[in-house]
């Protein structure tokens, strides 16, 4: 019975705690910070720090924090420091929505630095209603169409563009007279499926022969069964659209069955951990990246190295850093035009033309009717366990690709 009383007491305390934390905030309208010197600019961060994608979410969030620290170190945006409120969504829509509402309605953030597809996509209509931009790390192509998602931005090329760019690179390097053969391996998951249609269509357009596809789950521990039919189809190139753990499983299984093909991997499927997981099996694979790797010889790397105290960071860190730089540039332009609100930040971001995030990522532009940041991808290959830069592949900005 005493335990029962303890449970009653704990429940009462939890409820009381919530009521107390809820006190002191009335009904107020979303962000409208007037231009005053040194008044901080509030930014909300919704990243998966403890959920299924936290292994990449955590370094990405560190990058966001690093970027904000860098901007603040330079005196902030027009003298106003950025206050970054990072919260964990655990990749849960309900939690993300709830945190978002608190950030926008109670804390009056000007914009959101978002992350995973589940929360980003769920927020799309709410952002448009509240007029709050979301610079996220969910690179689904349909978010680049302002007709569908007017307040969504991201600073890396969308998944489809990245896939197309890699396909173009391989086609340009193809010397044999027969058509190159290509296959697609991806998880049956919104993220995995996102670039497949666009990738296949472009491969066909360039004269590839699509010889097969396979579904490998993100939590797979072996992919031999799925890969055996592909081995018989003997593709020259194989797209892998998974995460780093699932990619390492695919690479190891492919090696086991003696599959001889060139793998190229989506942005979340290859990072510094791939070689640790797959060992020598990862050597020779190609990886799409949208930001420089740690230590690469680009102007912005010095800033990152200073902030991180020369402690190597994953490539996701750089992307978070770039996202913060893009946001700060948008804020600077919005303040130059007058008041900084979600709406003015959106308008300011849409004036970016070939903004250079210190070489850390390809040049970034947004247009009022086209939120594709660029049509470029950094191609890397894994050499002796290290990501080695190969080329920045740039595609034309085709109208019919917008949103697909």
């Amino acid at each position: 019975m005493r335990v029962g009383k303890i449970i009653t007491a704990v429940c009462t305390l939890l409820l009381a705690g919530l009521v107390l934390t809820g006190c002191g905030g009335g009904e107020e309208k979303p962000a409208a910070t007037s231009e005053k010197k040194a008044e901080p600019i509030r930014v909300g961060g919704l990243v998966d720090l403890s959920g299924p994608t936290s292994s990449v979410g955590a370094p990405y969030a560190e990058g966001l924090k690093g970027g904000v620290e860098y901007v603040n170190g330079l005196g902030g945006v027009n003298g106003r420091p950025i206050v970054f409120d990072l919260q964990d969504t655990a990749y849960k829509v309900q939690q993300g929505l709830s945190l978002y509402k608190k950030m926008v309605n109670t804390d009056h953030v000007v914009c959101i630095q978002g992350y995973g597809s589940a929360v980003t996509e769920a927020l799309v209509p709410t952002l448009a209603k509240d007029k709050v931009p979301n610079l996220s790390a969910s690179y689904s192509a349909h978010l680049t169409d302002p007709k569908v998602a007017p307040y969504n931005f991201f600073s890396a090329a969308d998944y489809s563009t990245q896939c197309r760019a890699a396909i173009k690179y391989f086609k340009d390097g193809w010397t044999e007279s027969r058509a190159p053969r290509i296959a697609f391996i991806y998880p049956d998951h919104p993220y995995g499926l996102a670039p497949i249609k666009g990738g296949k269509e472009y491969a066909k357009e360039l004269g590839f022969e699509i010889v097969g596809e396979a579904n490998v789950a993100l939590n797979a521990i072996d992919a031999t069964t799925e890969l055996l039919p592909l081995k018989d189809a003997a593709p020259d190139y194989c797209w892998i659209g998974g995460t780093t753990p699932s990619t390492s499983v695919i690479l190891k299984s492919a090696k086991n069955i003696g599959m001889n093909t060139t793998f190229f991997i989506n942005i979340w499927g290859c990072d510094e951990n791939l070689s640790k997981l797959a060992g020598a099996d990862a050597d020779g694979v190609y990886s799409n990246q949208a930001a420089a790797v740690y230590g690469q010889d680009v102007p912005g790397m010095k800033a990152i190295m200073e902030i991180t105290g020369n402690q190597p960071q994953m490539t996701h860190y750089t992307r978070g850093f770039v996202s913060a730089l893009v946001m700060a540039e948008g804020m600077k332009r919005a303040l130059a035009n007058g008041e900084l609100t979600g709406e003015s930040l959106k308008t300011a971001l849409e004036t970016l033309r070939d903004f250079d995030p210190m070489g850390l990522a390809p040049l970034i532009s947004y247009f009022p009717d086209d939120h594709r940041p660029n049509m470029a991808v950094f191609l890397y290959t894994v050499k002796d366990g290290k990501l080695t830069f190969v080329k920045e592949q740039i595609l034309e900005r085709r109208e019919d690709w917008l949103g697909h």
Binding site: V3, G4, I7, T8, C11, L14, L15, G17, L18, T21, G22, G25, G26, E27, E28, L49, S50, Q87, D88, A90, K92, V93, Q94, Q95, L97, S98, L99, K101, K102, N105, T106, S117, A118, E121, A122, L123, V124, P125, T126, K129, S140, H142, V148, D188, H189, P190, Y191, L193, A194
Partner: protein
């Protein structure tokens, strides 16, 4: 019916009232008045949390009718919510008025629930759990590969609901809409439970053979339980879809089904009030942990991330503690508290 001392009934009808005493009626009235005043006092964030509670209450009470009252365990409830969300969403996209869209969502889900409920005649307990888990997996696949019907991996975008030109496009407006739906769902399940259907469900739960011997048609009643429960789940799903404005396959995964099971276990199986307690508890738990982490971060920088990382663990721990120390859920604790005050100061 256990009434207060001095309360007696001269007819069965009087005894079967939902609120038999005047005190109860006034308390419910007071509670409703507080609920109606709440959004004007609470800030937008807290209102949105209560909105989530309302939706969860509908989902939890529907699962409680199936699992708590009728004894048919379901691990596919999250997917049933999804069916309702997509069906209602498609109706809205095609211009069907909101109330009709929600109704259609519920009916489609009832149909789907009944199809997956058919094995319940032969399967019980863990076997039925696996059969409904299969429903969850099959439906998740359909959500992701449904083409234009479900929007595939892109999902469906919805506009805020509107009734006769009145748009529910703010938290406060949604609050009253969801409150009405939640109250309606609670009333519906309460009434089902005191009808012959409710008694049949309980008899099936307690021992199917005895139920059959006294003339309960097992197959029919089990199907009705699946149908009604899925209908309400569909309504909850439809409301969720219209509330968030976006539906995707990822939202209706096995995790959601487990959350709903946790709600009815923590709240109290077979109790309408328990469903409400469970929904409130599960929706508030992450919020309270977040608030706790943020408060602690003021004194102890860096602790926030640890508390956040512990959240899933805390969720599991709470479930285990409830199963060990309060297996009948919060509803049972509530009854004990009421009894304590009724007998006070003579506890024994």
């Amino acid at each position: 019916m256990q009434g207060k001392c001095g309360l007696f009934f001269t007819s069965y009808r009087a005894e079967a009232q939902v609120f038999p005493s005047g005190f109860q009626k006034s308390m419910v009235g007071l509670f409703l008045a507080i609920l109606c005043a709440a959004p004007f006092v609470l800030n937008t964030h807290l209102t949105s949390i209560v909105n989530l509670v309302f939706i969860s209450v509908i989902g939890a009470v529907s699962l409680n009718l199936l699992t708590g009252v009728c004894g048919q365990i379901s691990l596919g409830h999250g997917a049933f919510l999804g069916v309702g969300a997509y069906a209602a969403g498609q109706c809205s996209v095609h211009g069907v008025p909101f109330p009709l869209a929600i109704l259609t969502g519920g009916l489609v889900t009832a149909l789907v629930g009944m199809v997956f409920g058919v094995p319940s005649l032969r399967l019980k307990g863990i076997y039925l759990a696996i059969a409904t888990l299969a429903a969850q997996l099959v439906l998740e696949y359909v959500f992701l590969h449904g083409g234009a019907l479900t929007g595939g991996s892109n999902g469906l975008l919805l506009k805020p609901p509107s009734i006769l030109g009145f748009a529910f496009d703010s938290e406060i407006r949604m609050y009253f809409l969801l409150l009405a739906f939640a109250a309606g769902a609670l009333l519906m399940v309460t009434n089902i439970m005191r009808s012959k259907y409710g008694r049949a469900f309980v008899s099936i739960r307690d021992f199917h053979l005895s139920a059959e011997i006294v003339g309960v048609n097992l197959f029919r009643y089990k199907l009705v339980a699946f149908g009604v429960s899925s209908f309400l789940a569909g309504v909850a799903g439809g409301l969720w879809g219209h509330y968030t404005g976006y539906i995707s396959a990822e939202q209706f995964n096995i995790g959601l089904s487990i959350s709903y099971l946790a709600m009815i276990i923590i709240g109290g199986l077979g109790s309408v009030l328990g469903s409400v307690f469970g929904a409130v508890f599960i929706v508030l738990l992450p919020e309270v942990l977040n608030a706790l982490a943020n408060t602690l971060a003021g004194f102890w920088p860096g602790i926030a991330l640890h508390v956040v990382a512990m959240r899933e663990g805390v969720f599991g721990l709470v479930l285990i503690l409830f199963l060990i120390f309060e297996p009948e859920g919060l509803a049972h604790r509530w009854r004990l508290i009421k009894a304590y005050w009724k007998l006070y100061p003579f506890a024994h």
